[in-house]
Symmetry: none
Subunit: 242 residues, 2 copies
């Protein structure tokens, strides 16, 4: 299966160069490199962007400058406007997750629009989008800045991307049951010698409890061996440290 095109990140009239740099860093963390700038307030390039990008210079170097949103998204079939719901527009409103799924399911070029830091996107700009994408947020405290909005959407896109590194789950497998039985038998024998199973009427219940406790651990062969060594050390004489 061919990978779907990566979405372009379109910053519409961004105010601070620092925020453009932070957005670049947020993008590259999740493998996005197509940044498009629409009429940045302080022009472009902006000397404040580089330091804030923390090494994501490649995104800034490749960033393309446009005069209008229309020009910036001219090659994109699907466009999402990152904003809160707009009562003045009747448009689909999707979650970041649904947006990511739609982008991955499509072969078409896509873009995500982000408005200026203070005012957000104009109604006409939102209206150019296929859908609004809204991060579900605390209704009593919604305060996402530009770079945070970019990183959350980039993260959602990346999560379902094949290029994203899967979590490394090379855990050691649980030990075969026989090894656990070996540990339990060792412990049983040592505890018996110490008079632990007392009174006799409780012996079987105590053994069952210990068996349950050790069976639920999920310990690997290596871990079972380590615990057998611990038990030997506990019952043995102090070791010569010389």
């Amino acid at each position: 299966m061919a990978a779907s095109p990566h979405p372009a990140i379109v910053l519409v009239r961004p105010q601070l160069g620092q925020n453009i740099g932070k957005a670049a860093r947020a993008m590259l963390n999740f493998g996005l490199t197509d940044m498009r700038l629409v009429a940045p307030r302080d022009g472009w390039p902006n000397p404040d962007a580089g330091p804030a990008a923390s090494g994501a210079d490649v995104v800034l170097e490749r960033a393309r400058l446009f005069d209008t949103v229309q020009e910036a998204i001219a090659d994109c079939s699907t466009v999402y406007a990152s904003t809160v719901r707009r009562r003045d527009l009747v448009m689909p409103v999707v979650t970041p997750e649904a947006m990511a799924e739609d982008i991955h399911a499509s072969d078409a070029a896509s873009a995500i629009l982000f408005g200026p830091e203070r005012s957000g996107l104009e109604t006409e700009e939102v209206a150019m989008a296929t859908a609004i994408v809204t991060v579900p947020i605390n209704p009593e405290f919604g305060s996402l800045n530009l770079a945070q909005a970019v990183i959350l959407l980039a993260y959602e896109w990346s999560k379902s991307n094949t290029l994203a590194v899967p979590p490394d789950k090379e855990l050691e497998p649980a030990a075969p049951h026989a090894e656990l039985e070996g540990l339990i038998a060792q412990l049983d024998s040592e505890l018996f010698d110490k008079g632990y199973f007392h009174p006799p009427s409780r012996t079987q219940a105590t053994r069952n409890t210990l068996r349950t406790i050790f069976t639920k651990t999920g310990w690997s062969s290596r871990e079972v061996k380590a615990i057998r060594g611990v038990v030997r050390a506990l019952v043995g004489p102090p070791r010569n440290r010389g």
Copy 2:
């Protein structure tokens, strides 16, 4: 249906007050308010935190200060360490999504540990966690700052908040972390007396291994007590069976 407890966000030795403020803002955006600070470099309160919180003052006001990670997570049964995979520790590594699902499925108190800005968590601190949580990131450019790591995990937690399902099994809850620490300290002391930690150069690695082995068990308070009794029996003299 009762909601599962919200996770505590534990910032371990954070350096800049500004980043503590940004983390508070990130948290409150997604409804998290339980911030715990372990030995912040510049003390607490920190005048740089408030302005960076952009209105999330309630989180800073309620933040609690601790000297050690152990104290900060003493009441938490499930602890996630936000870090990249550590080759020196054999522990489960989960995605933010899997972490969020686990937290929602449990009635137990949970915490997420975040290390200092530059160095991240120490190995001994990671070893105190139940699992590592890693944001899948661009392998060629991984550069998440503290507040970004907090916001991504808070977002994932919040996303599945409304979809939370009650746990389907009436298992005994895992013991609070402080009880596991008690067992580990007891074992450590007994093993030290037996000369188990030898040679000295391997002592810390051996301690980390044991910590990981016991932290992963999911033992309940009752089970931790039983094992403490087992350790006492193993090191003690044979009991009078009369």
